[in-house]
């Protein structure tokens, strides 16, 4: 009987620790949300407030600012972030579909398929800082600094390993027999890809697209280094505004930062089952 009770206390302690872990994870997100709902003055009051309506009166001041004419720059950065992430995800998915299909369906002789796959993977290891100088010089030479196309092409490159691997394994999961049957019926290999394999792999491809979108959306180092004004994205704007010596409007910057974390937040929950596998290149089968 006593043992039974002791076991329960242990379980309660464990449950409490788990709840604390969840709270630690969620608090910063909650803090961002409530700070965005404070007025500029109440956000930096001497006593921080935590609970809307009880602690402080929520206000849409920061969001009104963001929809006012003065926020033209924020809107431009938001637009740049959305466009470059969409465009780059499309490029890396497009290239990834062909490469993934090739790796799943053909045997390459000179290099083995696995070698090609690991070569793509190895690109993830490349630290962007190590290629900063050449990128800068190349795009300067091409008159392509501060250009949305430039950063989109770079994001597509950075995401290519993940999209190739995800799509490759999605195609591998399709039984060969289905494609063979189509082939007997007289389909060419490109017809098989378009009409049969793609529809069967569409969930994985959609998830790869979402992940590529988020990783582009989050990119900061190269974007900041290669853009000044026209092609600035949301992270570049946030970093510049919040490290400026002129002081920061907490509620407005919180609202903008909230925009920056919402797409990743949605994808994190929607693509949950695919994220680990994608980030560890199949080292984990979640």
């Amino acid at each position: 009987m006593r043992k039974q009770i002791r076991l329960n206390t242990l379980e309660i302690v464990q449950a409490i620790i788990i709840v604390v872990i969840i709270l630690v994870i969620l608090f910063p997100i909650y803090w961002l949300l409530i700070t965005s709902l404070k007025t500029a003055i109440s956000a930096t009051s001497n006593v921080p407030t935590f609970i809307p309506f009880i602690d402080f009166q929520p206000s849409f001041e920061s969001y009104e600012y963001l929809t006012s004419i003065r926020a033209a720059e924020v809107v431009k950065c938001l637009k740049n972030s959305i466009l470059s992430s969409l465009f780059s995800a499309s490029i890396s998915i497009g290239l990834g579909i062909f490469a993934g299909y090739g790796l799943a369906r053909f045997q390459y002789k000179k290099w083995k398929n696995e070698d090609i796959g690991f070569w793509f993977l190895s690109l993830r290891i490349l630290p962007p800082a190590a290629v900063l100088v050449p990128y800068y010089l190349i795009f300067n030479f091409l008159r392509m600094l501060d250009n949305l196309l430039t950063i989109s092409l770079l994001y597509a490159f950075l995401n290519l390993p993940i999209t190739v691997w995800m799509i490759w394994s999605a195609f591998q999961a399709i039984p060969k027999e289905i494609e063979e049957a189509a082939s007997i019926d007289g389909c060419t290999s490109s017809q098989i890809l378009l009409k049969i394999s793609l529809p069967l792999a569409k969930t994985s491809i959609a998830m790869a697209f979402l992940l590529a979108f988020v990783f582009s959306w989050n990119e900061f180092f190269l974007t900041m280094s290669l853009t000044y004004e026209q092609a600035k994205t949301l992270p570049v704007f946030i970093a510049a505004a919040t490290t400026s010596p002129r002081g920061v409007n907490w509620s407005v910057m919180s609202a903008i930062s909230l925009f920056a974390i919402i797409p990743p937040l949605i994808v994190a929950i929607a693509a949950q089952r695919y994220i680990l596998k994608a980030l560890t290149f199949g080292a984990i089968r979640a």
């Binding site: 449950a15 921080p48 062909f98 490469a99 690991f118 949301l234 970093a239 490290t243 990743p264 984990i284």
Partner: protein, 279 residues
Amino acid sequence: MSRSWLYVLPAIIYAATFSILPMVLSLSLSFCNYNPGSGLFNFVGLNNYLDLFNLARFWNSLAVTFLFAASAITLELSLAFLISYLLSRETKLTKVARVALTIPFMLNPVAVSYDFKMIFDIDYGPLNFLLKKVGLPIIKWRTDFAFLTLLIVDAWQWVPFVSLVLLAGILSISPAIVESGKIDGASELQIFRYLIIPQVSNLITFLILFRLIELLKLFDIVYVLTGGGPGISTETIALFLYVTALQSFNLGRASAASVILLIFAIILGLMLMRVMRRR
């Protein structure tokens, strides 16, 4: 060449253009002095490397990067062990926790850094408020404890990832192994230490290398939270490269540092590939 190459070739060419070409350019430039403003360009042999090796700031950035990586990996793995152990049972609460753990490392690092900049704020931040409430002295997080502050933010983002990977490894272990331990009368902790950890040792090696490679790139949180300061005490190699290349415009020196960084990355990368192929 067969037609099947047409499928993979576009991706290979695309990736090679953005990786091999700039790497070759980095290597060539590291033996030259080049100033894009004046157009001055000349071969200087190993001078950039000698110059770099005599530069305390370069060694500092390497020390900061590796010290941070070592601390972060130790901290993150330890916490992740605890968390993955707690979450290895299937209950409603652990399921909620697993969903929550998927979030932090996906979020925009710049926005997260700004968020923590507020949380760690000396005057208005909730953390110091809490310290005051319980009667502790307030802490100048980003100046007096810059390294620790960065460590906490990095851990907030990446402990969840490491935990989930370990958890996936633990859950893939055959229940028979755990069952045999129970029959032999091992305690839950003994089972974890002597039966489960050895089963995931390969995964631990993978995680250490994976995090090490990511931490070589450490830039975003440092840029926003400490700017490499106070002084250069939290300046990582990526930040050093950024400052050298785009603020001082010392492209030769930056290229030499790039080559050194590349060598580290390639060594770690080859080790990671070996671990992954073994699986």
